[in-house]
């Protein structure tokens, strides 16, 4: 069973994502911001990270850069999931090591399509 870390400061979004990911047979863990997510990754690297951009304490892009530096940090497939939907943000995310990018609002069809594109399904 693959694991996915859901990183989003919105409880509602985490719940929606969790439900979809469970249907896709993922084991999930949650974090409310980048710092919590980084801690989770230090404990155990997930197979996938579903990552919001704007969060308190540490945002998604800073988390991603830090995570990629950790031992084993190149393993997780990182899918951004954010309301930032302009080319500049997307470009920045790819440069920082994101594998895919979902523009909110999203639904299970989009999430599934993106996850299968990056070989998680």
């Amino acid at each position: 069973m693959k694991s996915c870390l859901i990183v989003d400061d919105s409880k509602v979004i985490r719940m929606v994502a969790k439900k979809i990911l469970h249907e896709l047979s993922f084991k999930t863990e949650e974090a409310e911001d980048g710092a919590q997510a980084l801690e989770a990754c230090r404990r155990a690297m997930p197979d996938a990270v579903l990552l919001d951009w704007n969060m308190p304490v540490m945002n998604g892009i800073d988390f991603l850069r830090e995570m990629r530096k950790l031992p084993g940090g190149d393993h997780p497939v990182v899918v951004f999931c954010t309301t930032e939907n302009d080319i500049e943000h997307i470009q920045e995310a790819i440069t920082a090591g994101a594998n895919e990018y979902i523009m909110k609002p999203f639904d299970s069809e989009i999430l599934q399509a993106k996850f299968s594109q990056v070989g998680l399904l």
Partner: protein
């Protein structure tokens, strides 16, 4: 809806586009044609059907178009496109090396995602195709969909179904609420209105044909007729792609499945033809 009205519209649709609509789908007629009636200032379906009996080409066409299902997405089903890149394209590049020309047809192109997927893939091949003249033709019966395809404008939802993010960044620009595909990619595809039930010869020959997710709407004799007609505009070494729920088996002997590959068929020449 009155049974005689249903029968009248069902026959009209079958004759014009091949669409088979059964009684249990009468609700579809109602939901899709009521807006057409309203637009014309008619009270409802009954008036529309009354009008259809004496209607001119415009209304008949509008009704036919309203009944088409146009769903499409980029890299639909993924595998056929991987397979195109890994097998069919190299095969064609080798077999057409002298002429350096190749023609690809998206035979029910809808809003253009299939044709543009192929165009982006070819663009990604880069230098390998230097000196080649590769034509991509997209055809559909729906003028509304053809207009959308030509404009190359897609919603945020549409660009997130199947399109890898790297290709979105590379080949699309954001315009207010929509995403528009690059003029260079748009320029690689020609769109034309064309009915698959008609003689296909005027379109010329195609080395590779994508005819996906349209035969499912036809009855068996119509499927046979369309597949036979498609085979007449293909060379001896051509390839045909069908949708995930479609096959040539038991329907046409002009194509044979490619071993170990789903959804792709090779042209066969029946002796004596």
């Amino acid at each position: 809806m009155r049974p005689e009205d249903f029968d009248f519209v069902a026959k009209l649709l079958k004759d014009r586009s091949g669409l088979v609509i059964t009684r249990d789908k009468a609700y579809l007629l109602e939901s899709r044609l009521t807006p057409v009636a309203r637009k014309r200032g008619l009270k409802g379906l009954e008036d529309l059907v009354g009008g259809l009996r004496t209607a001119g080409e415009d209304l008949l066409r509008e009704v036919t178009e309203a009944m088409t299902t146009n769903e499409s997405f980029f890299f639909r089903d993924i595998k056929p496109f991987d397979q195109f890149k890994a097998m069919v394209l190299p095969y064609m590049l080798a077999n057409r090396a002298a002429k350096k020309t190749m023609r690809i047809w998206s035979a029910a192109s809808s809003s253009g995602q299939e044709a543009y997927t192929l165009a982006m893939m070819l663009k990604e091949e880069g230098a390998k195709l230097a000196g080649w003249k590769i034509e991509i033709v997209g055809t559909d019966i729906s003028t509304e969909m053809l207009e959308k395809a030509k404009a190359g404008l897609y919603s945020q939802f549409e660009v997130q179904r199947g399109l890898p993010i790297q290709l979105l960044v590379k080949y699309f620009k954001k315009t207010a609420e929509m995403w528009q595909i690059d003029p260079a990619i748009r320029g690689m595809v020609q769109y034309r209105e064309y009915n698959l039930l008609h003689d296909l010869k005027p379109l010329g020959q195609f080395d590779v044909v994508f005819c996906r997710n349209v035969l499912i709407y036809f009855d068996q004799p119509t499927k046979t007729r369309v597949l036979d007609n498609i085979s007449r505009v293909m060379p001896d070494d051509g390839f045909l792609y069908l949708g995930g729920a479609e096959t040539v088996l038991g329907i046409s002997d002009k194509f044979k499945p490619v071993p170990e590959q789903r959804g792709i068929y090779a042209t066969t020449r029946v002796p004596g033809k």
